[in-house]
Symmetry: C2
Subunit: 151 residues, 2 copies
């Protein structure tokens, strides 16, 4: 083996390394994976499965959830907030739908999702806008920040 | 020159290439640049300079601004919204401050900024949370999406 094939091999490995560092998942696949997380959240909500719904969120103390001037920090606190708001005394989870979804890739490892949420209760409805930032993690795409506001 | 230094040189160039492809601005510099845009916005606002304040936003029809269940799309529409809300008949711009700023890099080209906004008027005050996504562009870091909610 002379030095030329060796050099080619080194260059090839270096190129492969570049792709590995920059991340190579095509944007369409990433968007589809993000959309699936949101769809799974809606399915879980509509089965009354709040823990299943929470699987879309980063299970970490750094998760942040902003709503109506109030900050909630951490996965557990976010779950507790949902429980209090939708499973407390005299509360109901209702039927959740998302609409006007816009998934925008922010590089290879993050995505911004803008959308509108709607919850139909037995005798009432609630709705508003949300903006969430997803990060690609080992277990999949997870929400690291959620800013929700009501109409 | 034997093959060892050559291989080292090739590896070095490949590494340099990786940095060039992935983007090389250190996170601390990027965060400082983002912070400066926000500081400049506050300065402009407090001089009553809404056009100067708007320089922090992406000057494009794709800019999005979410607040209180209402979507505003595009730089011009966002400026018009601010004008109506803060410079209309009997309105005042007040004194703006940001607090609890958290700037988080999302890769090399995007940043998520979480914070609280406060506006002190002559006889009143308003406050709330905001989440903005910045993108690095040729003219500098610009807000591509703003989700603001009131207390």
């Amino acid at each position: 083996m002379n030095s030329s094939p060796k050099r080619f091999l080194i260059a090839l490995l270096a190129t492969a390394g570049t792709f590995a560092i920059c991340g190579a998942e095509p944007a369409a696949d990433a968007k589809q994976a993000v959309r699936k997380v949101l769809n799974d959240q809606v399915k879980a909500w509509n089965k009354g499965d709040l823990n299943g719904f929470m699987e879309g969120y980063w299970n970490a103390p750094e998760l942040s959830f902003y709503s109506g001037g109030k900050k909630t920090r951490g996965w557990q606190a976010t779950l507790d907030r949902y429980r209090k708001k939708y499973q407390g005394e005299g509360k109901e989870m209702g039927k959740l739908t998302f609409s006007e979804l816009d998934i925008e890739m922010l590089g290879q490892e993050h995505a911004l999702v803008r959308g509108r949420w709607h919850v139909m209760f037995a005798k009432d409805r609630a709705a508003g806008l949300f903006s969430v930032v997803f990060r690609k993690m080992a277990p999949g795409w997870r929400i690291i920040h959620d800013h929700t506001s009501s109409e």
